[in-house]
């Protein structure tokens, strides 16, 4: 407790509420309001409508939701497998090689997303790797961008696992494969879910690399939102943004409800 006087506490309360309200409450509220706005020529919208949500659930916009969900799930799953594999492989490695590989797996998070997209365009636009214009290049871009985050989360989880349980399993004669399946991975489950959640959220909001590589047949939601707002359909853009945020948060909420046995916390 930093402020004791009644007046002081009231003052800090008002200050905190004003700061949080203007910075974080207002933007969310305004997007929500705009997504229902029929006409907005004054301080507040003069008409409310559900039309923008109807638009969001049909035609192109609904396809974009589907594309984003598929991209997010596939890219996050592949990143989770690759990240867990790498983290497990480096776990028992010697100090120096482990640090070098660790840095290598983290580097994708330090490269601007637009440049990742540009690299994929340059690399996969002609044979033998002709992927430009297909869904694959979008999936690859998302995988590359989120791979470091899944790897980082799983590594952090591994470091916090109690060492004794696995040693007991080993001393009781459990083979490495069995130990991995029945001991290590279940213990790691909360961290795997956290890693997947983070990757999924990042993928759902990804714009920089996607806008470089997407084919006309695979427009994701962020790209669609930008296209809408660019041509002036800002209320439709707001409705689609609400849908994107709601979908992301719903999936994260669902993932956080998955019951995990033997949580390592």
């Amino acid at each position: 407790m930093l402020v004791w006087s009644r007046r002081g506490r009231l003052l800090t309360f008002v200050l905190a509420l004003a700061l949080f309200g203007v910075l974080y409450g207002l933007p969310l509220g305004v997007i929500a309001l705009a997504s229902f706005a029929g006409q907005w020529n004054n301080v507040l919208p003069s008409q409310m409508t559900l039309e923008h949500y109807v638009n969001a659930f049909r035609g192109d916009s609904f396809d974009q939701l589907r594309h984003s969900l598929v991209t997010g799930c596939v890219a996050s799953l592949v990143a989770l497998v690759a990240g867990t594999w790498a983290a497990l492989a480096l776990r028992r490695a010697r100090r120096l090689p482990a640090r070098v590989f660790d840095a290598i797996f983290f580097i994708p998070s330090a490269v601007p997303s637009v440049s990742v997209g540009l690299g994929l365009l340059v690399a996969f636009s002609h044979k033998p790797f002709l992927l430009n214009g297909t869904v694959w290049i979008v999936l690859i871009a998302h995988f590359v961008l989120i791979s470091a985050f899944t790897y980082g989360n799983v590594t952090a989880g591994l470091a916090r696992l109690p060492a004794d349980v696995e040693q007991v399993a080993e001393s009781l004669g459990a083979r490495p494969g069995y130990r991995l399946r029945r001991v290590t991975l279940p213990l790691l489950a909360p961290y795997l879910i956290a890693a997947f959640s983070l990757s999924f959220a990042l993928s759902m909001g990804e714009l920089g690399a996607t806008v470089m590589v997407y084919p006309p047949g695979w427009v994701t939601m962020p790209v669609g939102i930008f296209a809408l707002s660019d041509r002036g359909s800002i209320f439709d853009a707001a409705a689609l943004t609400m849908l994107l945020a709601a979908t992301t948060l719903l999936v994260l909420l669902g993932l956080s409800r998955i019951p995990v046995r033997g949580s390592a916390r």
Partner: protein
């Protein structure tokens, strides 16, 4: 997996990353240096780096990143102190709301700001319709200030995460003793809270710098003609003008700048504590 076999086990994910990430990265560098087997085109390299377009993009990128980071640090510190040391009704919910903000796309804030501060936004409409001002007076959104304000809003939670984690480990008795000895709130902040927060501030600040240098969505959505940053210039050259050679040159500079900042961030983390600031 014994240490001997670790080398072989790491190969599959490593090869995947090599093909999908490092190979494209190498091709960007090759393309920037002149492309397909010709004499390395260092002349073009120098030409692009000397151009006004590149220099102003580099300048914009650095100014926006630096000012946004300073803003995030100040705001993140104030908000974290308010949340951690002056609990108010609803402060836990606010903390959770800010945490979910990290999961939302960055352009959400830029889009919201056009409804609030834009030329036909709520504030200008209030001035025009309610107060009878002839022309919309608020006119900063379509400049670097609009981008900076958006980035501060988006990236402040990345500073708050490590700060709140640090504050939760601070012994409350320390503050109560200081306070009962007659220290004022500001003195406590300056003498106890700030020194304890310094490592988290440095870690959060360097992460912010990295993220703001590479921010794309916000700059694209604000869409100000004279606010072109390096990532936006790469996009513009490659996608709008099909000038891949120049785009690759700009991208190389952007990547080098970004890797440099990332090295600083990793160094800071190793030096000032293990707690990772947010995502990376």
């Amino acid at each position: 997996m014994r240490s001997g076999s670790a080398g072989a086990w790491v190969l599959p994910p490593l090869l995947l990353l090599a093909l999908l990430f490092f190979y494209p990265l190498l091709l960007i560098v090759r393309e920037a240096l002149g492309g397909d087997g010709q004499v390395p085109g260092l002349a073009h390299f120098g030409e692009v780096l000397g151009s006004r377009m590149f220099r102003s993009a580099l300048w914009n990128t650095m100014v926006i990143a630096a000012l946004s980071t300073v803003g995030c640090l100040v705001l993140g510190f104030v908000l974290s102190v308010l949340l951690a040391f002056t609990p108010f009704p609803g402060s836990r919910m606010v903390a959770r709301l800010i945490d979910t903000f990290i999961a939302l796309p960055t352009f959400l804030v830029a889009l919201a700001f056009t409804f609030i501060y834009g030329s036909a936004g709520m504030i200008n409409e209030t001035f025009v319709h309610v107060l009878g001002v002839a022309r919309p007076p608020v006119d900063f959104l379509y400049s670097q200030w609009g981008v900076i304000l958006s980035e501060i809003t988006v990236y402040t939670p990345f500073v708050m995460r490590p700060l709140l984690a640090t504050f939760s480990q601070l012994d409350p008795a320390q503050i109560e003793v200081a306070s009962s000895l007659g220290a004022r709130a500001l003195t406590i902040v300056r003498r106890i809270i700030f020194p304890a927060a310094l490592p988290a501030l440095i870690a959060g600040g360097s992460l912010c710098l990295l993220l703001t240098v590479n921010e794309f969505g916000i700059v694209l959505f604000i869409g100000a003609k004279d606010v072109i940053t390096l990532p936006l210039l790469v996009y513009d050259l490659a996608i709008q003008q099909f000038d891949y050679a120049s785009a690759c040159i700009i991208a190389v500079v952007n990547i080098v700048l970004s890797l440099g900042l990332y090295t600083v961030y990793r160094f800071v983390l190793a030096r000032y504590g293990r707690r990772r600031a947010g995502l990376v």
